[in-house]
């Protein structure tokens, strides 16, 4: 039997959140954390969380497992269980709607702020815009982001300034478009980022790198943005 301690909060019935202990029979198997959550939900249908693809590509089930953010569907219980106990909490730093479901509004707002879409003011050719494999390779490690928010919600700078600091996920996408040879809005993009909060609240703590379930490195991308700002201004 696995001991699971889960964060519970239903705004209609609970004055404040509490931790609930439940026992789960995993059948001796090393299940994924999401499987354990499904088992809990089969017993107690009021337990709320998000899930979709269950294979680590949709980014729905970012949760805090025994203190570390990650995707429940691709994290084996053995990786996060401590003394036969698994502690499940919502992603930190965002308002909780219910149980493990957080309000991602601020996270998405920061993503939108970087205008995460290709901007090109030249007329499109009849076929695709050409791009060399080397130039395309610059997007590797950037475009794979699944917007699960594990990084941004593990970043202290984002905890304090989620309304002003774009956060690692948004900045990774900002750089994804800065690095794209097909994008012509580099100057405008950089101008919008050159303030004391948007980029420069990153203090290089690297929690984002530590938790990214896709193995991406937002800190490095932020470094690249800073260098672009620097070479543009000096």
């Amino acid at each position: 039997m696995l001991q699971v301690s889960i964060y519970r909060y239903n705004p209609e019935t609970d004055a404040e959140p509490y931790m609930q202990d439940v026992q789960v029979d995993t059948g001796g198997k090393d299940l994924m954390v999401l499987d354990v959550m499904e088992l809990i939900k089969a017993q107690d249908t009021t337990f709320a969380y998000r899930r979709s693809c269950r294979e680590g590509v949709c980014g729905s089930d970012g949760v805090n497992m025994s203190g570390k953010n990650g995707l429940a569907c691709i994290t084996p219980v053995s990786q996060v269980v401590r003394n036969n106990k698994l502690v499940l909490r919502p992603l930190p730093g965002l308002p909780v709607i219910r149980d493990l479901v957080v309000d991602m509004g601020m996270f998405y707002a920061q993503y939108e702020k970087v205008q995460p879409y290709l901007q090109n003011n030249t007329p499109a050719p009849a076929i695709e815009r050409l791009q060399s494999p080397e130039d395309r390779a610059k997007l590797d490690g950037l475009y794979e982001c699944i917007l699960c928010a594990c990084c941004s919600t593990s970043c202290p700078s984002f905890w304090w300034n989620p309304d002003r600091f774009i956060g690692p996920a948004g900045l990774l996408q900002a750089y994804r478009f800065l690095a794209d040879t097909r994008d012509t809005a580099t100057e405008e993009r950089l101008s919008r980022l050159d303030d004391p909060f948007s980029v420069f609240r990153c203090h290089g703590i690297q929690n984002c790198v530590n938790v990214c379930p896709k193995g991406l490195n937002p800190t490095r991308a932020i470094g690249h943005i800073r260098n672009m700002l620097l070479s543009r201004a000096t």
Binding site: A48, C58, E128
Partner: protein, 590 residues
């Protein structure tokens, strides 16, 4: 119903996957008031899981490639019940739709010439099957669906589409004339129920792979659109046609792209034999998915399966080398290590045919307009209702879909729906408002669920349904066994309709959503079961032990399932493409 808030739009799209967002983009660009209702944040839709690519004759790999060759492959792949006018439209418009995606920013992999990288996929040929294997699937590594979905979301953001994220559509609203005038939807965060009124309602709700116990599909693929259409009394077409993907990871069901075999991987049995050489001497591992899946099951039945239970086969990739695997198939390496505990660089991946795609769906024309059959047996358009993507049956996939054609289907027909609605709105759409009783009718199921008292547990019922479908309507089917399955489903109907909802709260009540989803799963399952039993032949993905041959005399046609009397009718397949000669049915070999 006075308390029901109404929100009005020119066009409402139900579903935020690839098809829905492509349709929304088209409408938003035209300036019409457009909304997308999605039960998950759009980038969590199942399109995100598509791996291998989007098949399209853009003539990058082969400068002489021709969309007609792609059309030939698709018609053949469909086992000749794909509509040739629709396939012609998809294959010819495809390149334009793919280039639009690239211009929008989709990060396709590239060739040395800087063009979009294309890889070989199953069922592809050059020169109408005479010129050997083609490489026609445009790819962004093995994350094409992810790249496509995010690009479309970004495009919609740029064009300021209104999103109702984490809103769940429960039922269609029909007016007195039988026209669709919107949907009832629940805001999951607050629990508020709203009537979303629209001049055009587009269903882009995706598939329903969760009717099977073993599926590559996401938890959210519960056939909501099919369920709503059937409850509204509209028919569904070819719903018995379910694709089992040859390579789902054994045990987990997670998909391993056909691109693995496109890049040179192949299947082996427990003796290490490359058994597809026996079943499909020419195309081998790149035969149609239905052919490969059946061959795998036959190997397993013959006792040549791998593992202690002999219940799967292996996909061998290690000979491709680490460089190719890490650059072309990085996502697969990740998934295999996580879910199969096998590193493809060193060892083969255990795989088994797994439910993957619903070829059938709401019948539509090439403009995405949903169809039904009038009293005289002719096609008639359902006013106000459109469908595109997996939920629709245009039909371009017929009895078996080719790999890479689903992404093409959803962008081409998402776009076509948007274009048609734009035109219709410009010409003026005039539908009578829904009356109080129309709304009451649409609300009745939700009201019943909200007031449920006794009944059984939703999760247990869902499991029972999935096991029934898995056991009775799998890769190989048999009349007697299917009838048993149908009887089990008949028993399940009442129990599922009366399922218990313990949690009546408003805020983010996922129990309520799951109960409503279960109804939809059941509708899809029942339609599948009854139609599968009725189609007395083997064609494409529908393989029967008791009718092993294709029967063109009686069944070279679409099946149509009518929910009100649970009747299966027939509808003619289109054999009249506009610019090319008809592809006549031939024996299908690879």
């Amino acid at each position: 119903m006075a308390s029901l808030r109404t929100l009005s739009f020119d066009g409402v799209i139900v579903g935020g996957g690839g098809a829905g967002m492509r349709a929304a983009l088209q409408l938003a660009q035209s300036g019409y008031k457009t909304a997308v209702i999605s039960k998950v944040f759009p980038t969590r839709s199942h399109t995100v899981s598509a791996q291998g690519g989007i098949t399209c004759a853009i003539a990058s790999d082969d400068p002489n490639d021709d969309w007609r060759w792609h059309m030939y492959d698709t018609v053949k792949g469909s086992d000749y019940i794909g509509d040739q006018d629709a396939i012609e439209y998809m294959c010819s418009v495809g390149p334009e739709a793919v280039f639009e995606l690239e211009h929008m920013g989709l990060p396709f992999s590239r060739t040395e010439a800087g063009r979009i990288y294309q890889r070989p996929f199953g069922g592809q040929s050059k020169n109408f099957g005479e010129g050997g294997q083609a490489a026609r699937t445009c790819a962004a590594a093995d994350r094409t669906g992810h790249a496509l979905l995010h690009t479309l979301y970004q495009g919609n953001m740029k064009n300021q589409t209104v999103f109702f994220n984490e809103w769940y559509a429960t039922d269609l609203v029909k007016n007195q004339d039988g026209a669709v005038v919107g949907v009832i939807a629940i805001c999951m965060e607050t629990g508020e129920t709203v009537y979303i009124k629209s001049k055009a309602t587009v269903f882009a709700t995706g598939g329903a792979g969760r009717i099977y116990a073993s599926t590559t599909n996401a938890h959210i693929n519960t056939g909501d659109g099919i369920g709503m259409a059937l409850r509204a009394g509209f028919p569904v077409q070819d719903i018995e046609m379910w694709q089992f993907h040859p390579t789902g990871i054994h045990g987990a069901g997670v998909l391993v792209t056909e691109g693995c075999r496109g890049e040179g991987g192949y299947l082996i049995n427990k003796d290490g034999e490359r058994f597809m050489e026996r079943y499909a001497p020419n195309a081998k591992d790149l035969a149609g998915r239905d052919v490969v899946a059946r061959s795998m099951v036959l190997e397993i039945i013959a006792g040549r399966g791998c593992g202690p239970e002999g219940d799967h086969v292996f996909l061998k990739l290690d000979h491709l080398g680490e460089d190719v695997l890490e650059s072309r198939l990085p996502g697969i390496c990740e998934l295999s290590r996580t879910f199969a505990h096998a590193d493809p660089v060193k060892e083969p991946v255990p795989v088994v045919p797994t439910c993957h795609y619903m070829m059938g769906g709401i019948p539509t024309n090439v403009h995405g307009q949903a169809l039904t059959i009038d009293a005289s047996g002719k096609d008639s358009v359902i006013p106000g209702l459109y469908a595109c993507g997996e939920v629709a049956c245009v039909s371009v996939h017929g009895a078996n879909r080719l790999g890479g054609n689903s992404l093409l289907d959803l962008v081409v027909f998402g776009r076509a729906s948007g274009l048609h609605i734009e035109r219709a709105l410009r010409e003026g759409i005039d539908l009578r408002d829904a009356s109080e009783s129309d709304l009451e009718q649409a609300m009745s199921r939700l009201d019943k669920v909200n007031n449920s008292t006794g009944g059984e547990n939703v999760a247990a019922l869902r499991k029972e349904l999935q096991n029934t479908m898995q056991n009775h309507f799998g890769v190989f089917r048999n009349g007697e066994f299917m009838q048993e399955g149908i009887a089990k489903l008949a028993d399940l109907r009442g129990r599922i309709e009366g399922a218990r909802l313990d949690d009546k709260s408003q805020a983010y009540n996922t129990a309520r959503i799951e109960a409503l989803e279960l109804h939809n799963l059941f509708e899809v399952a029942e339609a599948t079961a009854i139609t599968a039993e009725e189609r007395k032949e083997s064609r494409g993905a529908h393989a029967r032990d008791d009718f092993e041959e294709r029967d063109d005399e009686n069944w070279l046609c679409h099946s149509l399932y009518f929910p009100t009397d649970k009747r299966v009718g027939k509808r003619a397949v289109n054999f009249e493409p506009k610019t090319v000669d008809t592809f006549q049915p031939k024996k299908r070999t690879y």
